[in-house]
Assembly symmetry: C2
Homo-oligomer: 639 residues x 2
Amino acid sequence: MLERKIYLSNLPLDRARELFLNAALKRKMGAEELDTRLAAGRVTAEPVFASISSPHYHAAAMDGVAVKAADTFGAAPTAPRRLILKQNAFPVDTGGALPPECDAVIMIEDIIFPDRDNPEVIEIREAVAPWQHVRSIGEDVVAAEMIIPSYHLIRPFDLGALLSGGIFKLRVLKKPLISLIPTGLEIIPPGKIPEAGEIIESNTYTSAAAIENWGGEYIRQPVVRDEVDMLERAVRRAVRHSDLVLISAGSSAGRRDHTYRVLDRMGEVLVHGVAMRPGKPVVLALVDGVPVAGLPGYPVASYMVLELFIKPLLYAWQKQPLPAGEMLYASSSRRILSSLKEEEFLRLKVGKVNDKFIATPLPRGSGVSMSLVRADGLAVIPQDKEGVEAGEGLTVTLWRTRRDVENTIVCLGSHDLSLDILADHLKRGDYPYSLSSAHVGSMGGIMSLQREETHIAGLHLLDPERGDYNIPYLERYLPGKGIHLVHLARRELGLIIAPGNPRNISGIEDLTREDVLFVNRQKGAGTRVFLDYRLSKQGIGPEKIKGYSREEFNHLAVAAAVKGGSADVGLGIRAAASTLGMDFIPLAWEQYDLAIAPAFYDTLPCLALLEAISSPAFRTAVERMGGYDLKDSGKLLTM
Amino acid sequence: MLERKIYLSNLPLDRARELFLNAALKRKMGAEELDTRLAAGRVTAEPVFASISSPHYHAAAMDGVAVKAADTFGAAPTAPRRLILKQNAFPVDTGGALPPECDAVIMIEDIIFPDRDNPEVIEIREAVAPWQHVRSIGEDVVAAEMIIPSYHLIRPFDLGALLSGGIFKLRVLKKPLISLIPTGLEIIPPGKIPEAGEIIESNTYTSAAAIENWGGEYIRQPVVRDEVDMLERAVRRAVRHSDLVLISAGSSAGRRDHTYRVLDRMGEVLVHGVAMRPGKPVVLALVDGVPVAGLPGYPVASYMVLELFIKPLLYAWQKQPLPAGEMLYASSSRRILSSLKEEEFLRLKVGKVNDKFIATPLPRGSGVSMSLVRADGLAVIPQDKEGVEAGEGLTVTLWRTRRDVENTIVCLGSHDLSLDILADHLKRGDYPYSLSSAHVGSMGGIMSLQREETHIAGLHLLDPERGDYNIPYLERYLPGKGIHLVHLARRELGLIIAPGNPRNISGIEDLTREDVLFVNRQKGAGTRVFLDYRLSKQGIGPEKIKGYSREEFNHLAVAAAVKGGSADVGLGIRAAASTLGMDFIPLAWEQYDLAIAPAFYDTLPCLALLEAISSPAFRTAVERMGGYDLKDSGKLLTM
């Protein structure tokens, strides 16, 4: 019933890639003939030599008249020469053919019509040299010259030279054809809201789009249930007509993961398990000379295998250099521990704060696809390194441009839904700036300001003694730093409970009940400070609350926990409750402000942000969620 | 019959672009709903908020058994705890749903089967914390959180997060739709070899491919003859369903160019004539709120207008930043004069010689489409600058990567067809290097070596006194420089004449005949040195040769001149004659060598080049052209 893991090797990434590429590249892309007009973006399979010259006749380079240069010899201002149109001077347009015997063109500007009654007579006051204003044969393309070599990626303007050189068809490399086989009992196609245990198929759609970006074509096979014989039949069919087969999921060593077994039976497994994270449980094999990869099921792991194994293969097949991302040197905003067993690929947020690039790792789990979406770039912690210290340098390969990163406003601190909406309004505005927020809690935001690692921190910290928000904390932790505090919103805080209040909760005091399971926020979160303040005011010890130690990192995660039934109640904002259709018991209005680093305050991006905060469109959008009051938003509270 | 030019303004480029973009961007791209699976590469029209969480249930993060953590409390190596499968321990695979009541997963590696006879009994030796190895609801995506904002270019991995977040359809910006109208009496569609005066339509194919690269879609209209009413009808139809209309050619002020007149009648002409080169005669107008551009007919001019006006418009419509090319600072290899009337866009070859980037301008005519094909990048000479001096710095916007430029072997000197073939063989080989040759004649090559602006120079210079090739010139012009001379080929030189020898030419002496028109090579070309040597040996003064002063810059251009009838005879190599089907009167075998700069000689790219030169495939390919002897190719002659 329970099967043991099949042994996974732990091959270093470079070695694994070398093994795979060497084997896979024995297969070559053939060539196909294509209409030149459709050839942009394709790669030549052979050099292309012009079949005709361009121009292929002597052509006028100006509008004017074509003449025999010798007929003009001796003409001068003092000795004008008359010519007769259609006899020894022939009107020509730019690009037109010179009549036989003509070897020069006189621009229309240099022609005089001396006789009003006879428009056929023209006069010139200067002799012209042979071949003046003439594009002679082959000025652009000479017949038989090489227009473009083999393995040349055809650009739009290459079409112009090719067509002008009489090349109407040409041989290009075939595009690599990749079969995608999604596997798994639990996989359902996109389109319906899944039941528990069902997973919406997404990896093969990501793979398909990546393959197209990298110059390949794909065929998607139907989902294969985790059954050895069915998988074998699907692979057998796919290798017959594909250059590469990608089996999605089923590459780890789980109970139902048959990919390794099937590939081992059908062909030669080159690699099973690579010392990389995410992406470790990849299987790479050859079946009938066709490379087959078993991709891990987790989205980040699957994508990293595409990026590190499949992308180099597709570029090599198409004889194109692997595009190198822009690099940037950034210091890590925190200590990151990493295993000595693997090379780890960190997804990072990168921002430029005080002229220094700061990198902050995103959640490292291989199931967190949002860590790819939110990433500005990747950095590698080598296998023999235990991690990086806070402040240590990291070489980041950017996924955005350096300019985009420089135009990003970094906001670390507490999460609020209004920040998402603010980011969107900024993006829709006229400025090139974007807002990137990472959720580290209010105290985390204050610490980031202290370490000068963020432009802005989102805060909602209640001072229990003064009953005041945020300012006491700035005075305590950032005295004399000149932080500007700008009010963003007041929001309603309360208990998030299941619809209809099945546990009959009426207030904080119910959290101690034996039949009530609480879900908390992480330490340092403003919401948790508020909870602890209320608990101590009411004399309730945290140890009396079941679930006090379970921490979620934002309001929506708390509401989702209640919705999912893993908790009965949590503390959060009304908007989070109503978004997920939960009920809400209001407790207080709390104040959410943005603390802005002094060096950032007067900059253009900050002005753009403040403009967005004060815009009616932003206020309306936030207040529409319910539980928000923005009447004072944009007010400067301290400076 | 001859009409005067319509006045062209000379608006500065920045001003013209501002006028055009401000007017054109009043038109906005609408939105359309799209299946998420097809959305990669498109731009969101609004923010996308997750409709479900992912995971949307508590999911096992490991293969193993799901348990209630409380059931394991107290377990220790000294106090193992037994659990019964399917009663209080439930096998789960990674990604599977936890059964109700379970809140933790124990990895299969940590499970012991104590009883061989009863596989349902398992034993654990450690307590587990609640939520261990569980991906709780929303770990990746939390329902209602913003997955991506407005105006976000959707990448492959965004699809994963969108689908997992239950987004099966989304609203994206429509792609700008561009109508292409080719115009001109002389235009013929690609597919047949053109007659004199006919021009193969190529600009709208270049435009179409560029539009697709920049995110737009296009419709090509049939070719419109240069007739005002027809053009007006075509534009009227196009503006009804397009976001932008491009009229190809017909924008200069020639006799048959009606674009300006038609647009002036139909709408508002914003710009007619821009102070830029190439691209001056552009017309930019608005017709019924739709921007319409009349593109110049010359391919380089047309492309520059696309690049400088149309590309920014398409990116702005799609709310995407204009991609900035990589920049590089290079010194100009020569003096370049430029008009004060225009901003000039130079197409440049760039190479790295002795750790310094050297830029060499390509032919500057707006009809030379090969100058785009061959360019490594662009540089601008501002309107108020008369040009640049040799050695002066230029800021080059690269069209290739810096790495590609660094991997380019620069060869300046005499042209030979074998260099094209060598470049192709290098490209087909296993090395990342490419050979880029520009044709400046043998003496030009020697001067470039002297100025350290080239890695290699192709030479075939006969020393009339010693009867020897190349070495005497190296001794004279590059004494003690340590140049390595490598033999490439011997090639047959002779007179290129029309098929059947209609002028009855039998040798050099016939060049002085009254009825024989010669075409010469440029000063400094080895072929010209050979000619002058022969003439002086035979006591013939150059002034006796009709056409002696007409210079062409390579063998094929000479053969093309003979083929086209603008000359009766020229001096060149047999391969050029036979390629164009001309006859040939052999005169001598000359020696073509490569002179290699000493600092380049021992580098990897040079070794790769020498390997290609010595390869049998290269020799065969060159000798197949006829008139070549490569038996000694690759021999080192001096060092």
